[in-house]
């Protein structure tokens, strides 16, 4: 395959062309009369382009070559370079993968027949989003980067606002739009200052800048703010939960699985410019990362809206990645190659992993919401009987995202842990190891959150009155999920290969680590894969043993034992909120769950309801009040425009006088 491609032409060109093709995939649909035809051809083109682009990206990654193209454009911002180095190639992988899978999923999930009014726009902007992200990672001209960045943000907005007849969708859209726009204001500053440092709008080469001048600190801050707002690092995450929850599911998969990574890519890329990053940068990243991880997962535990839970867990995963990056930066600043290597490997591998299991989960949630017609987990249950395949794939995703062996989430977290432990014997960064228990806590909470999600959705019986009979999802929806599940499994069982995948990207990032031998780590990962195999073997052996025993004895089927109570109904099950209530009560300081408990009076109280709603602490307690205050103060200033013309005249002459005094 590779050699064939090599024979055809330069893989970088293939990747770029694939990106452009994906971008144009939605255009025929805008003009084709027949509904569905446009969607179909968009899907086909997207998948074909991805099939061409993925091997190309992999080739570029493994050959660790860097190839540059010059886009001739008519704008006065210097050359417009498109360059694919291993880092870009690495980030291209999730883009192509998720784009293709999502657009296949859309065939079954958002068929044009059912959504004639919205399907065209959705397909069109989906293509734009995907290709803009693919081109973004290749852009080397600051202004071009900014343009592609904004196109990405806007297309994501239009995708998110697909169902804008719903109030909360509109609200989520506005919050998202304002957040992303504020972020890109910071990017204006970033690229301007970079230009003032390097003399041109071309992004500086790796390690070409020094972090000593004060401008460097401003650059780093601007990058952290602008890119962090897109990545959803706390405290810039306010837009994230509602946006991901209200978008169509394959769009959520795209946003969470890939678009957040673009923010991280920006941070990675900005950090490459400097050859002497100070310790404080790594420290800030680490602290921000670990706090996003903890708070994100804590909020996830409290959610009852399925997609909000997934969104909050995205904040957590981004936090873990950022922690890894911060650790790696600390390693670079302190010339500590193993730490830098392990942190970076953990971060990059987790980026890859998260773009496997998070889309899987979002697609699955799409199927379920499609079937049950609600996002509230308290009303779900027993879905697994209706759709066993989805249940199985979703289980893989849930285990993987908890970072439990034998799946891929564990591998990346393992690398990070190992990096932290490896500092125990050194003198300088020994306190770094205190992150390990925090990460462990994050892992434990993740288990709570996803046990809650999985059990309350798939297991037990349906908790809602309306008798829901979910049916198995169609092939177009199952295939993408199966693909992601398979990838999770592969990375989990053969982590050493995954390490090979990220190695070139790391090397391109840090010349420092290029000389350390990875054989030791590969060895360890070999052992881990061995252990996972042993684990599976033991489980299978036990299963066979059990089957053998079952063969001899009588098997009876009856209803669940109600501990003596005969009239147990499905609404007596432990719901999602009740499951997490205890865990949430531990963290109630930050989550601030609003629980309205009914007041039961008398011996035979009449029927009542108990409701719980986790609040978005930062948004609802800080940002919105601030906006209100600003609005009120503005209304005072607006009195200046009072409609009395003789005062307007006074304005004019007052200006005249002031300027006169200033002039003389």
């Amino acid at each position: 395959m590779f050699s064939v491609l090599q024979g055809v032409c330069d893989p970088a060109l293939v990747a770029l062309v694939a990106a452009l093709v994906i971008g144009c995939s939605g255009i025929p649909g805008l003009f084709l009369r027949m509904p569905g035809l446009g969607q179909l051809c968009a899907t086909v083109t997207t998948i074909l382009a991805a099939l061409a682009g993925l091997p190309a990206a992999l080739m570029l990654l493994f050959s660790s070559a860097t190839s540059t193209y010059i886009l001739s454009w008519g704008l006065p911002f210097g050359l417009c370079e498109l360059t694919i180095d291993p880092l870009s190639a690495f980030f291209l992988i999730p883009v192509f993968l998720v784009a293709a899978a999502g657009s296949l999923f859309a065939l079954g999930y958002w068929p044009a027949a059912e959504h004639p009014s919205t399907e065209r726009g959705l397909t069109f902007f989906y293509g734009i989003l995907a290709s803009s992200m693919a081109i973004l990672v290749t852009a080397r001209n600051g202004v071009f980067f900014l343009m592609v960045w904004e196109i990405m943000a806007l297309s994501a907005y239009f995708l998110l606002a697909t169902e804008h007849e719903h109030e909360d969708v509109r609200r989520a859209g506005i919050v998202y739009l304002i957040a992303t726009h504020t972020g890109s204001a910071a990017l204006y500053v970033l690229f301007s200052l970079l230009a003032s440092q390097s003399g041109s709008y071309l992004l500086p080469a790796a390690g070409s800048l020094s972090a000593l001048p004060p401008a460097a600190m401003v650059i780093a801050t601007a990058a952290f703010f602008g890119f962090g707002a897109k990545a959803g690092i706390m405290p810039f995450h306010i837009w994230l939960p509602s946006a991901h929850a209200n978008a169509p599911s394959h769009v959520s998969a795209m946003m969470s699985g890939v678009m957040l990574k673009m923010g991280l890519y920006g941070i990675f890329r900005t950090l490459t410019f400097f050859h002497d990053p100070p310790l404080i940068w790594g420290a800030v990243l680490t602290v921000a990362g670990i706090s996003s991880a903890l708070l994100g997962i804590a909020f996830a535990v409290a959610q009852r809206d399925m997609k909000r839970l997934l969104a909050c867990s995205s904040i957590e995963n981004i936090g873990i990645i950022t922690t890894g990056l911060g650790v790696a930066m600390l390693g670079i600043s302190s010339q500590n190659a193993p730490l830098a290597y392990l942190g970076m490997a953990g971060a990059l591998l987790h980026i890859l992993n998260h773009s496997f299991f998070k889309p899987l989960l979002f697609l699955g949630s799409g199927v379920i919401i499609h079937a049950t017609g609600t996002r509230n987990m308290n009303l779900m249950g027993g879905v697994a009987k209706g759709m066993p395949k989805v249940a199985f794939l979703f289980l893989i995703g849930s285990i993987a995202i908890c970072g439990i062996p034998p799946l891929n989430g564990f591998v990346s977290e393992f690398l990070l842990y190992f990096g932290l432990f490896s500092q125990l014997q050194t003198s300088s960064l020994v306190y770094l190891v205190l992150l390990a228990p925090l990460l462990a806590l994050v892992g434990g909470l993740a288990v709570v959150a996803f046990t809650k999600l999985y059990s309350s959705v798939f297991l037990g019986t349906s908790r809602s009155h309306g008798a829901v009979h979910p049916h198995e999802a169609g092939l177009t929806m199952l295939l993408p999920m199966a693909l992601f599940a398979l990838l999770c499994l592969l990375v989990g069982v053969m982590p050493q290969w995954a390490l090979r995948l990220v190695a070139p990207a790391i090397a391109s990032f840090m010349p420092l680590v290029s000389d350390i031998d990875q054989t030791n780590y590969v060895l360890i990962l070999n052992r881990i894969s061995m252990m996972t195999l042993i684990l599976c073997a033991v489980a299978i052996a036990a299963a066979l043993f059990w089957r053998w025993r079952l063969g001899y004895a009588r098997v009876t089927k009856t209803s669940t034992w109600g501990c003596g109570y005969q009239r147990s109904s499905s609404r007596m099950q432990y719901g999602a909120s009740s499951f997490s209530e205890m865990a949430v009560s531990v963290f109630n300081g930050i989550i601030r769950q609003k629980i309205t408990r009914p007041a039961l009076k008398g011996l035979f109280p009449e029927a009542t309801t108990c409701d719980d709603k986790p609040s978005e602490t930062l948004l609802e307690r800080f940002v919105l009040p601030l906006c209100t205050v600003a609005g009120v103060s503005f209304t005072f200033l607006r009195r200046l425009q009072h409609g009395q013309m003789h005062v307007y005249m006074i304005y004019i002459f007052a200006t005249l006088f002031v300027l006169m005094l200033w002039a003389h």
Binding site: G74, P76, E165, E167, H181, Y188, L193, M649, L659, W662
Partner: protein, 477 residues
């Protein structure tokens, strides 16, 4: 050649005046607009030589403004075919004549190098627009007209005395008295700084009033809010640029007199004030046409800041002349359609425009993104150029304030525009006869297309014009 540019619209005005049929006039108007654009392009491609005596001379700055005005005028004229059809109830004779006279005066402003003549032409544009603002013939529109007329007249009068000061400065300096730009630039070194400063202040205030810099902008929201969409487009996209051109002439003079620093600082200050004013007034704005007016205040502020910053920002300012003019055209024309359809300018009643008017609503939304500086639209190019040159020059405070007010404005505009276009139309909103037709949708669409194209590709000839213009405004140490 120069004469053609001015005579043609006047002839057109005479013709339209004589035409008795309301249906026919807009079409004739469009024909003359087309011809005018033809001549314009002709003149841009083959620049005619400076007229004897140097009264008329089409330099790069003039070219930019002339081009944007002529293009915008053409699309407004075509739009008027569809728009005036919906306003059949009243005669459109005055409207068409006024537009053409205004066009003639505007062309005069762009091609003349005689400041006095420029002043006359500018005042003519002011007066010729007055009856157009009063098109709706109701109490609100008469109030708007009165304020527009009086404030602008006073402002331009102040500009006139500024010019007199300049002329007297030449007399005092014992050089051959004249108001020709080139002579003034030539003798600028000799002029006495006292008169020159006074002149600059009066000219800044005068043209600033016409341009709508805060706090001289008070007429703007009323005039834009009460006039029909296409008149608003001409005011915001055309007349503003003419005033800016006059300011550019003054700027050239300042450069020559080496008194530039004060003028630049004054420009930056007033520009920032305008942007902050716009930000404050745009938040929670209930009337979307007034919101557009404040957005226009913001953008003249941007141009002023850019001019004050100098350096590469000047290029941004010149490009912004084009970008802002065309984008304002999109916004005002599409908002005019929305206004027609809902018969209300109040955002409480105007909801779900995308569902009710897919084309106009979509154009309005796209125009909103364009005017707030989102790529791939032209204003992004200019705004980014300005911001980045501010930071590159180390004017961090200016850049920061610039960005902050842009941010507030975006938030305010988003909170007004998005609820308008998104969602479902309220059930109690009255239904009108208006439907999106080719004639009312195509012009804003073409304008948007232009804005988009300029956002991703500046053609080489235009680029050379812009560069020449920037060169005219460069600080020579």
């Amino acid at each position: 050649m120069f004469a053609a540019l001015i005579i043609l619209p006047l002839v057109g005005a005479a013709v339209t005046w004589l035409i008795p049929f309301d249906r026919l006039r807009p079409k004739v108007l469009s024909l003359f607009a087309l011809a005018h654009l033809g001549i314009t392009i002709q003149m841009l491609s083959f620049t005619p030589p400076e007229s004897p005596g140097g009264w008329f001379h089409l330099d790069a700055l003039g070219k930019i403004v002339l081009l944007s005005t002529s293009v915008l005028f053409l699309f407004c004229a075509v739009y008027s075919i569809g728009y005036l059809y919906y306003r059949r109830e009243r005669s459109n004779r005055v409207m068409c004549v006024g537009l053409l006279v205004c066009l003639a005066a505007a062309s005069m402003v762009t091609i003349t190098h005689h400041l006095g003549l420029m002043w006359v032409a500018l005042e003519t544009t002011t007066i010729s627009m007055t009856p157009l603002i009063y098109f709706n013939r109701n109490a609100r529109s008469i109030e708007a007209t009165w304020k527009y007329l009086l404030i602008c007249s006073v402002g331009v009068a102040l500009a006139l005395i500024g010019l007199y000061f300049l002329a007297y400065a030449t007399i005092v300096a014992q050089v051959e008295p004249s108001l020709l730009l080139d002579d003034l630039i030539r003798d600028a070194g000799k002029l006495s700084s006292g008169w020159v400063h006074a002149a600059f202040v009066f000219l800044l205030v005068g043209f600033g009033t016409k341009m709508g810099l805060a706090p001289l902008h008070t007429w703007k929201p009323d005039a834009y809010g009460e006039s029909p969409g296409l008149v608003g487009a001409m005011l915001a996209g055309g007349l503003v640029n003419l005033a800016f051109l006059s300011l550019l002439r003054v700027y050239q003079l300042c450069l020559a007199t080496k008194e530039i620093a004060f003028f630049q600082n004054a420009l930056v200050t007033m520009g920032l004030i305008s942007m902050l004013f716009a930000a404050i007034f745009m938040a929670r704005q209930a009337d979307f046409k007034r919101m557009l007016a404040y957005s226009s205040v913001e953008h003249v502020g941007i141009m002023a800041v850019a001019l004050g910053l100098g350096g590469k920002a000047v290029f941004g300012a010149l490009f912004h002349v084009l970008a802002n003019g065309l984008t304002k055209g999109v916004l005002f024309l599409s908002s005019g359609n929305i206004h027609r359809s809902y018969n209300s300018k109040n955002t409480d009643h105007v909801r779900g425009a995308l569902r009710r008017l897919p084309w106009s609503g979509g154009l309005f939304l796209a125009g909103f993104f364009a005017i707030t500086g989102s790529p791939p639209f032209a204003p992004f190019i200019s705004e980014f150029t300005i911001v980045s040159s501010a930071f590159i020059q180390g004017r961090v405070v200016v850049g920061a304030l610039f960005l902050i007010s842009l941010g507030i404005i975006f938030i305010g505009m988003a909170l007004t525009v998005l609820p308008m276009v998104m969602g479902e139309a309220p059930t109690d909103s009255e239904t009108t006869s208006y439907k999106d037709t080719f004639w009312t949708v195509a012009p804003p669409f073409c304008l948007l297309l232009l804005v988009f194209l300029l956002g991703i590709w500046i053609p080489a000839p235009l680029m050379t014009i812009l560069r020449d213009g920037a060169a005219l405004l460069e600080v020579h140490p």
